[in-house]
Symmetry: C2
Subunit: 224 residues, 2 copies
C-alpha cells in the first residue's frame, strides 16, 4: 500500500514537472517571438538589413519550437489522463503556439519589407506609424503572455479591448498613407512596403488578442 502511494506520488510529481516544463517552454517561445517583433520593427525603421536577416533566420527556430511544444502536448494527453483544468491548459497551449508561430511569421514578413525598403529606397512616409503601432502590438504580445503566465483574466481582457485601439490607429495610418500616395504616385511601391508592414503589425495584434482570449477561456471557462 505504501509502495503504491509512493508510486502515485511519483507519477503525480512527474506530471507536475511535465506541465511546468510545457508552460515554461511555451512562455520561452513567447519571449522569443516578442523579441522578433521588436527587432523586425527596429530593422525596418533603422534600415538594418543584417538585423532583418537575423529575424528571418530566427523564424525557422520558432517554427521548430511550435512543433516540439505541440508534440509535447499530444504526448501528455496520450500518456496521462489529465484532469479538466490541466486538459484545458494543454489545449490552450496547443492553440496559443499556433498564434505565436504566426506572430513569428509576421515578424519575418516585416523583416522582408525592411530588406525591400533598403533595396528600393526608403518610403517618404509611415515610419512614425510603424514605430507607434509596433510599440502597441509588442506590448499586447507581452501582456497577453504575462496574463497567460499569471492566469490573469483581467489583464487578458485589457489586451482584447486594446486590440480595437490598434485597429483604429492602423486604419487612420492607412488613410494618411493612401492620401500621400495619391499626391505622389511615384512613391506608391515604397509606401506600399510600409503599408504591408503595418498590416503585419495589425495581424500581430490580432494574434495577441487570440492568446488573451485563450487566457480568459482558461481562467473563467467552466464548460467542462
Amino acid at each position: 500500500m505504501m509502495q503504491k502511494e509512493t508510486l502515485g506520488q511519483h507519477i503525480s510529481q512527474q506530471f507536475t514537472a511535465e506541465m511546468d516544463e510545457l508552460r515554461s517552454r511555451f512562455l520561452g517561445m513567447g519571449g522569443l517571438v516578442e523579441k522578433q517583433v521588436n527587432e523586425a520593427v527596429t530593422a525596418l525603421i533603422e534600415a538594418d538589413t543584417a538585423l532583418a536577416q537575423l529575424v528571418r533566420e530566427a523564424d525557422k527556430h520558432t517554427n521548430r519550437m511550435e512543433t516540439t511544444i505541440d508534440e509535447e502536448c499530444v504526448r501528455i494527453l496520450a500518456r496521462r489522463q489529465p484532469a479538466a483544468s490541466d486538459l484545458r491548459l494543454i489545449i490552450s497551449i496547443s492553440k496559443a503556439v499556433i498564434d505565436l508561430e504566426r506572430i513569428g511569421d509576421e515578424a519575418s514578413k516585416i523583416a522582408k519589407r525592411a530588406i525591400q525598403l533598403t533595396e528600393e529606397g526608403e518610403s517618404p512616409k509611415g515610419y512614425v506609424e510603424v514605430r507607434h503601432i509596433g510599440d502597441q502590438v509588442r506590448k499586447m504580445v507581452q501582456e497577453a503572455l504575462d496574463a497567460f503566465a499569471r492566469f490573469d483574466s483581467a489583464q487578458a481582457r485589457e489586451v482584447v479591448a486594446y486590440d480595437k485601439t490598434v485597429d483604429r490607429e492602423y486604419k487612420t495610418a492607412l488613410r494618411e498613407l493612401i492620401t500621400y500616395m495619391m499626391e505622389d504616385p511615384r512613391s506608391i511601391s515604397r509606401v506600399l512596403n510600409v503599408i504591408w508592414a503595418l498590416r503585419s503589425l495589425e495581424r500581430i495584434g490580432d494574434h495577441a488578442r487570440n492568446i488573451a482570449r485563450l487566457v480568459i477561456y482558461l481562467v473563467e471557462g467552466d464548460k467542462l
Copy 2:
C-alpha cells in the same frame, strides 16, 4: 461477464457515434465556409450588396459553430481516453476549426470590401484577378476538406503544393494593380479595395494549406 462485454460494446459504439458526429459537424462547417467564400467573391464581382450582407451575417453562425465543435473536442477528450489515432483526429479537428473560422472571417472581410466598392464606386481594374484567384482558393478549401473527409494525404499534398501557385499569381496581380495605380492615382482607394480582397483570398489559401497539413500529419504522423 457477458453484461460487462455488452457495456463495453455500448460505450465503444457511443464513442464511435460521437467521433462520427464530430467529424460530420466539422465537415458541415467546412461546407458552410466554402459557400461563404464563393458568395463573398460573387458579391464583390457583381456588386451585390445584399449578398455581401448575407455573408457578413453568416460569419456569426460559423463563429458559433467553431465554439460548439471545440467544446465537443474538449468534452470527448475529458470523458474518454481516446487511443492515439482518435486523439490525433480530435486535436486536428480542434485546430482545423480555427482555420475554418478564419476563412469565414476573411470571407466576411471580402464582403465588406464588396460593400465599400458599391459605395465608393467600382475599381477600374482587378475583377478578373479576384474571380481567378477566388476560384483557385475555393477549390483549395474544397479539396483540403475532401482530403480530410477521406484521410487522403496525397490530395492534401497537392493542396499544399498548389498554395505556391496562388501566392505567385497573387503577387503578379498585385504588381499589375500597383502599376495601374501609379498611372491613375485617383483610382488608388478603389483599387486598394480590390487589393485587400485579393489579400484576403491569399490568406484563405494559407488556411486551406494549414488544414491540408493537418491531414498529412493525421494520416502519416507516427509521432505518438
